[in-house]
Symmetry: D2
Subunit: 428 residues, 4 copies
């Protein structure tokens, strides 16, 4: 788009804060994107196995959403409406109700929060505290829930927490399934601590958890464990908040990450792929009996991004009107498991993580995982690590990636891994 973009690259060093991050792994200036591919200003193309950290589950610039959005803008469709009633909001709500909530028998209300995941989480814990009159919230090891002060308190990453410059409180962090080793029953442990009136753990307003931990190393909790936590929450009068920001919208295999489980979350913060197009959009589903907000008690200028309503509606209709897309995810997930197993087989001690299209390989060290991702980028594949030590090579490809392209991406990843393993062996 610019005639001499290389000259512009210096502007990042000159004017963008040091806090910038992904650009350090992927040293290119991206310009266009389509489906599962990104193109930089020098004309190089890349297969995208990152998908905006699961914000682009339907790929880049889906043609149907694109058309609808262009039509909306062309027709002077409203772009910003605070939380006034608008036709795009009505249509989104109606579609969401019809295709997502009603078929599952969910009677949740939709709360339009500020258009970021962290805001949707903040709204949920505020409401849980307000409703229960309790302050303590339970979250879990390796959980990631956002960066504003309330959500950051829930987040496990100690270096991110330190950014607050404040002690973060009012949260009890319990060990997630598997985080103390395979043999340790963390559910029993949580129950024992909560049942003990002298544990020092104050009665919780809520349990907040991801069912597959996106930033925390792609650990997927078992159905037994999740249902146990749900039961524990109920037993102690706490609300169950499933943070489906990264694992939802098909990423973990179905629309909600908990579709296959026998739980009914009280609140569900959603964001990332919700708009379908990568536009900022978030909401929190809340059980109607908890909907005791006074008007604007939680507000925000950009709650209800109208452009996102337009694309989100199309996304719901296109992908979730029947089971075809879900079946496609399932099929692709098998391919993914097989591909990752091939990589794991190269590396002693490596193990698969995650489920659905949210899988990765724990290669044992952040060093090796980082090297594999760097090598993959050289070979035209965008992919990142995950985990408290960045030890997991994480595949977050668009769910819509054509199978051939998906396999090609996996082959590139395998080659990159192979190359790194050989280099490592040579060095030892």
């Amino acid at each position: 788009m610019t005639t001499d973009i290389s000259a512009d690259k210096s502007v990042f060093a000159r004017r963008e804060s040091q806090v910038r991050s992904y650009c350090r792994s992927f040293d290119a200036v991206f310009d266009r994107a389509l489906g599962a591919e990104l193109f930089d200003t020098e004309g190089n193309s890349y297969i995208d196995f990152l998908s905006g950290c699961s914000s682009l589950n339907y790929g880049h610039n889906d043609p149907d959403m694109k058309a609808a959005l262009i039509a909306h803008i062309t027709g002077d469709g409203i772009a910003h409406a605070l939380d006034m009633y608008s036709s795009p909001k009505a249509e989104f709500l109606e579609t969401f109700e019809r295709l997502i909530l009603a078929p599952r028998g969910m009677d949740h209300k939709v709360m339009m929060t500020g258009p970021t995941g962290t805001n949707a989480v903040e709204a949920a814990i505020k409401l849980a505290r307000k409703v229960t009159g309790r302050s303590n919230v339970i979250s879990f090891t390796n959980g990631f829930h956002g960066m504003t002060l309330g959500a950051l308190s829930l987040t496990g990453n100690v270096s991110k927490r330190a950014g607050a410059g404040l002690p973060l409180g009012d949260v009890t962090h319990l060990p997630y399934e598997g985080s103390l080793g395979e043999d340790v029953d963390t559910l029993a442990m949580a129950e024992a601590m909560l049942d003990n009136g002298s544990s020092g753990i104050d009665a919780p307003a809520a349990f907040v958890l991801e069912l597959v931990q996106g930033e925390g190393g792609l650990t997927a909790a078992s159905r037994t464990w999740v249902e146990g936590i749900a039961r524990l929450a109920k037993k102690h009068g706490a609300k169950l908040i499933v943070d489906d920001i990264q694992a939802g919208i098909g990423r973990a295999g179905s629309f909600f990450s908990f579709d296959e489980m026998d739980i009914e979350p009280d609140m569900i913060p959603m964001a990332k792929s919700l708009s379908g197009f990568g536009l900022p959009f978030a909401l929190t589903l809340i059980k109607p009996e908890l909907d005791v907000w006074t008007p604007a008690e939680h507000n925000g200028t950009f709650r209800g991004n109208t452009h996102a309503f337009v694309t989100a509606k199309i996304a719901l209709e296109k992908f979730w009107s029947d089971d075809a897309f879900k079946d496609e995810i399932t099929e692709k997930a098998t391919v993914l498991t097989d591909g990752l197993q091939r990589i794991a087989d190269m590396i002693p001690g490596a193990r698969l993580k995650g489920r659905g299209m949210m899988q990765g390989v724990d290669v044992g060290s952040g060093g090796l995982a980082g090297a594999i991702c760097a090598e993959a980028f050289v070979r035209g594949l965008i992919i990142e690590t995950s985990g408290s030590e960045d030890e997991v090579v994480k595949v977050l490809a668009p769910l819509t990636t054509p199978m051939a392209q998906f396999k090609a991406g996996l082959d590139t990843l395998t080659d990159a891994a192979s190359s790194c393993v050989e280099t490592k062996i040579a060095a030892e």
Copy 2:
């Protein structure tokens, strides 16, 4: 856009959380918007004196931004790129540097935060605490800075604060200029308290303030007071954070609300009209010596909304390449003052508030202010109240409103006020 939109209206009652708010004042379903006008699904048009709470300073669907955005989408320009380098980001940064920062001699770095004002504020106070090693932050009576836990702690509104369900700490609230009555020197008071080593007010990491309080009743601080606070911050080793989310981008009369003052804020959170098109977008300007973030220490999926980069660049070029727009604001502000004075003259005790295109009339009670706004809506004007008692009728018209339309809007407002005052007199 839908054939039978009236049928859809029930979906809001059925599925949208009680927290929804503006829709209660403006009972219509909005569909299209252009310039300073909104159109509902029944074909009614409204003049917009709310502008998305100052998120639409350039009006709705500005044709140049619209064209650029459509071109970007049409060309499969990247829509979501996390914080990778992208050509739209480079162009935005270069334009912002060239038209805004460089002419003012500002060497600030641009931190792309999550695309909400509250996130930009959270980033600023995190950084102030990190840099200073101090926890206390000073904010002011009637200030509004957001709804996530850190920003909410800064916010003055006690009922909004109560929504946290937690005691909010680490903030000292001092009285804003004028909030203790015209005669009380709140600057001297702040200085006396901070100079006293036994005041109980711990050394502050930062002072956070709006120069015109958008939600707090449109109080505009004097140059003397603001410069005094800046001096006080420096004296006590605290960072000066000017929250220009609502008052900035021309609203208060110039690009930054402090352009006419002799201060150099250490950090400046910006949002609302930043994208120019009503798209979610926020950033925090930070002095380069404070830019000590580690990569991703504060992050967020939607930091750096690419569509917003596209429109924001056009907005900067179109409106801030020279002084013409600023002069236009100044002229319109005079008309606004005159119009509001006519209203104030009808109401004993009423007084003007604010400055630039961020002015209103304190009519003495929330009841009367609310009645005026409700009456204005019936007459086709969208306008809201402000202030701790909702006692100020607040005009936040698009800065681009054509003069005739602007005057027509003011006339409608005057008529509405007149009607309410007559009704009130009749009732007494």
Copy 3:
């Protein structure tokens, strides 16, 4: 008592923590004490104008209390009884009721807290928060309420606060009368801030204040101001907690510091001179309707020091059965005022502080005040400074000091001040 005490002095350097403090001002090893005099191990005597910071209002080793305590111990009277019923407790309670509470029409309950002032304060604020369901507590500039975490949060001294190693929260510090200069009406200011629903000051559970600030520079609040604060507390549903730990038990002129005012505190923490003999003892008086504690909800091993019950009862009977002692205090207070005025007259800008037998001279700087106290010590007078800059020479003589000795002490102080002033003039 030891044959070679000088050898033992090294043990302090060797084994006592650096936190020790008064020993740095008074470099002697004290051994015996009687009335208003202290004797060191080398046989030197000192007049005591410090009285254990008002813990020895009846002087050292009062013969009647001494006799009763020896009798109690000799007869194997119980020394430690947790909070079981004991005859000394019954007798103390009956005496306190008969001589103190009943004559004033006070129906307060007596809560035996841990035997320190800070514990009595912690109990009071816990109860205020429990009763009101609110977290915020208001305290005042230059207030001192103790060193445990809850009480420290109330305390104004910023360097003492820093000792917490934590941000201290849940307290709003408002300016005490006079702390912003003589002309500023801090009561009106407090009222304006509390009446403003957007002040950021959450509804308070309690106001906590001293009527004469012992550590904060001997500022005595006026009756008007105190009654105004009491009214303000009632208006906002907050409990009024008068910390009478240092100013009570006759120090400010009558048994309670508020005896001459038209207020009824909801809670009154007491300690220091309560035992009469310098023994650790504290309690909190609470209005019966607030006495909603469950058994042991606040507890502590040494609550209800039995030896202290024995001496406290004697103290009450001996000094508070009629008005003679109060009259004596009044008379001595006049002598004190006169004496301090003589000192103030020597020093430009000096001014008297305090009331009753809790008076001092603000000499304008901590340097001069410290020099006067140091010089006084050389001359055999024990006296300390007060105030945020240690700028006040503070007289806290035993209320029982014989008049001749009291005047002698004041003469010594005058001589010390005169000497320091001359030195200072010579140096300039």
Copy 4:
């Protein structure tokens, strides 16, 4: 002492706060006490198996301490000296150094805190936070550390915590050994959580623990576990704080509860039996390299209770000059174990808890434990329960109880238990 004490009993109901507690279990007015016996005002005698919750380890009114205290008072020995140097303090420090610290090679400094355990704990955690610059402190399930805000945050009991009326923060509560069942390795769990950089558990300033949990059910941690915690603290740069307030001074079998373990605590809060006579007295031992307090940074009027110095010195000399007393405790502890085993044998599922002279029987329910203690009181034995459900019958007899009397007390307890068990069986 009074002629008609029965008349006085009503004063408690009339004037003492509902918070009173032990008096509800032991409905008598106590008057005198000697050795292991208490006498009420009606002439009844009781064997004391409570010892002021371990504050009377040497029994009541030990004749040697009594004589020394009377001599001190008779000679007008100083009663209250703030933290000035005094001969009794010198003698206490010299004796404590000679008999306790030096023989153990401990170079700790002695910090005189306010004379309550909670204050000693508050001082320790303040210092740990100050020294490390960290806020988080780790404490353990069922731990009890006091009732002021900082210490209460460490305490496990949820109902006591609720008394704060505030969320209690800055503490992570981890499970104590055995609290998750015998099979769960809580040490490994703690290590796994602390080693995980995404556990959400911020780097700790300190670990605070009791080696035998006095209020928490007399659980005694194993040497392996304690040494593991000490190692873990060192590994993570945290200070090790052993709260020896209840378990120390011989109670758990030796002077310090950790004498038989290979650990060196950084800080040791002590109180309860420290004075030897039941007088309020507390201190915190701190490693010299941590003694970075500024003078009076933590202070308190009654720090360094002079009467307590006098008796504490005698106690140290009488009981800790050689191993005789320790051997006597060991012998008595065996008798205690045997006696409690007899009771446990009556009750299915009952099990012994604790060690040294700090043992009890977990009888499975608070109801039964309470009934046994109530029945024991009727039979002239004062004894209390412990544990989060009050399920442990806890023996805290004076360590000096003559063997015959001790056995008689145990027989009474056995009879009471037997009676209750029979009643229970009859009722089933």
